[in-house]
């Protein structure tokens, strides 16, 4: 194929590096500078954590803070260490994590898919939204976490009831974002697709869905948090395994260090999930100009 160079615009087309123009030979390279900055930042963050934990421990040692109510870093560490090496009162720690993770991930996936499908459908079909929107608004306004009690009684202590609770918590956030996203699609893009010959279904799949994904992905960040809450609260309400149960039994033994250790584990899971979702977002939204990439500012 003959490669015709662009001649008309005179615009540069190598816009793939938005982080400023590289300045070769102009002192320190910006990349090295950026790396220095990052190291400095991580160092400072680490210092903040050490100082906070240190102050806490010192307060406990000086009897300003009662570890019976508030726990202490040393005790949390000891509990974590014991769980990892010896195991928990309910069996190995890995099993507990796997159970909670399974519930959260299942709830997240099912809830997100249901939310996207329903949101896009209601956003695209006017009759559907007119019919169901009031019900969904009403359902969204009730405290859904209470449903956990019903699910526990109805489905028992297995993972089923906890997954259900996670699904219910995830669904609404994703649904409302998908719905809004489907309605905010640029009219011109839809008109263009239809004029190019797209059927209604092709417009939905090829224009509405990718356009709404900006909205949907924003909600997924929060939704995995909701899925975890659903799984944990479900386990606290009634389960025979999982991190929630571990936290619950620590609470029953007045072991605040155990509760906090459970929290730390949940936080690590949530952070890992967040990183995975950010990766997914980068992949699905790679068509967007880099400077508007969500999450880039947090790095």
């Amino acid at each position: 194929m003959i490669d015709t160079p662009t001649r008309t615009d005179g615009t540069s087309h190598g816009i793939s590096t938005p982080t400023g123009p590289p300045a070769p030979g102009a002192g320190r390279s910006p990349r090295a500078q950026a790396r220095r900055r990052r190291t400095l930042l991580s160092g400072s963050r680490f210092t903040i954590i050490v100082v906070l934990l240190g102050v806490w421990q010192l307060c406990v040692n000086a009897k300003v803070v009662d570890p019976f109510f508030w726990g202490e870093p040393k005790g949390v560490w000891a509990d974590l260490y014991e769980w990892f090496t010896v195991g928990t009162s309910q069996g190995s720690l890995a099993d507990q994590i796997v159970v909670t993770l399974e519930e959260a991930v299942l709830g997240f996936v099912i809830g997100s898919i249901l939310g996207v499908v329903c949101g896009i459908a209601l956003g695209r079909v006017r009759l559907l939204s007119e019919l169901f929107a009031p019900f969904l608004k009403a359902a969204n306004s009730i405290p859904r976490i209470i449903l956990g009690s019903i699910f526990t009684v109805a489905f028992g202590f297995g993972i089923q009831s906890n997954v259900m609770l996670a699904v219910v918590l995830v669904f609404f956030g994703v649904f409302f974002n998908a719905f809004q996203g489907a309605r905010e699609v640029d009219r011109n893009l839809i008109a263009n697709a239809r004029l190019l010959g797209a059927s209604r279904w092709q417009v939905t799949r090829d224009v509405v869905l990718p356009s709404a994904f900006t909205w949907i992905l924003a909600s997924l960040h929060i939704s995995f948090g909701f899925a975890l809450i659903g799984a944990l609260v479900g386990e606290i309400l009634g389960a025979n395994q999982g991190l929630g149960l571990l936290i619950r039994s620590s609470q029953n033994n007045f072991d605040m260090n155990g509760v906090l250790a459970g929290m730390v584990l949940v936080a690590v899971i949530a952070l890992a999930a967040e990183a995975l979702i950010t990766l997914l977002e980068r992949r699905l939204l790679r068509w967007r100009p880099p400077q508007t990439h969500g999450g880039a500012a947090v790095q």
Binding site: M1, I2, D3, T4, P5, T6, R7, T8, D9, T11, H13, I15, S16, D186, N188, L189, A191, N192, A193, R194, L195, L196, G197, A198, S199, Q202, D206, V207, P210, S211, R286, W287, R288, P289
Partner: protein, 269 residues
């Protein structure tokens, strides 16, 4: 046979405050097969509305729109449309954008991509197939939008101020390219613009609309020889003569539209 005919169309829109706004009043317009027709008029005179009626995106409130002597009942896939703003799909690569039309029309993907590559070569975008839209300049985006419509070989091409967002130099270069592409498939074109120079340089016929509600004030045949080079045609003495003639018709309408907006501002302030 006329490719496009608007017969005494009136188009009213409901406004937010419950009233109606008349965009077009009793407008009649005919475009022959293979004819390039430019529609000029002051802002807010309903130029773009004529295009939505021909394309079937909107229905006239009164009167009829015909394409190839058949009344327009909905979106017709023989019609191509190039929008004022970017309407290419930002989540598709350049190649997939151009290939979208044939794929929607049931061609196989391989076949559609082959066609798209050919069209990208014609507009000088070979080598840019895998770029995202945000990586392109405004002019290059238009060079994606043009083959995206033309690949379907429409018998009718509607263009809504397609080059208004471009700088002056790029605009005249794109105009020349458009004429070159148009010459290859010769669809009937309705080209809406507020730029009289652009209209004369491109068209076989220039239609001047009145200040809103729009109706046809005058039509002018442009008998400048083709092929034309838009960048240079304005130096032709015939071009100047035509410009003066048409501007005479357009001037009062522009003044009227301007007076109305300033009056509105006075009321508002």
């Amino acid at each position: 046979m006329a490719a496009i005919e608007l017969r005494n169309v009136t188009k009213k829109f409901a406004t937010a405050d419950g009233g109606t706004y008349t965009a077009l009043a009793d407008l009649s317009l005919t475009v022959e097969d293979g004819q390039f027709c430019a529609v000029v008029g002051p802002t807010g005179c309903g130029k773009s509305t004529t295009l939505t009626l021909i394309s079937g995106l909107e229905q006239p409130s009164r009167g009829d729109a015909f394409v190839h002597d058949k009344p327009v009942r909905g979106i017709d896939t023989g019609t191509g449309f190039v929008f004022q703003q970017d309407a290419v799909f930002p989540w598709k690569s350049v190649l997939d954008n151009v290939a979208a039309g044939p794929i929607y029309r049931g061609h196989s993907r391989t076949e559609a991509l082959k066609l798209a590559r050919d069209w990208l070569r014609r507009v000088g975008l070979s080598g840019f197939e895998d770029r995202w839209i945000h990586q392109l300049s405004g002019g290059m985006r238009k060079r994606v939008a043009l083959p995206q419509s033309l690949i379907n070989q429409p018998s009718i091409l509607l263009m809504d101020e397609p080059f208004s967002a471009l700088d002056v130099q790029t605009r005249s270069i794109m105009s020349t390219e458009l004429l070159h592409l148009w010459d290859q498939t010769k669809p009937a074109v309705v080209f809406v613009t507020h730029d009289l120079e652009e209209a004369i340089a491109l068209a076989d016929k220039v239609v001047v609309l009145t200040a809103g509600p729009g109706t046809v004030k005058a039509e002018f045949e442009i008998d400048l020889p083709r092929p034309r080079v838009v960048q240079e045609i304005r130096f032709d003495p015939r071009f100047t003569r035509l410009y003066e003639q048409i501007w005479e018709a357009l001037r009062t309408e522009v003044a009227e539209a301007y007076a109305r907006t300033t009056r509105l501002q006075e009321v508002a302030s």
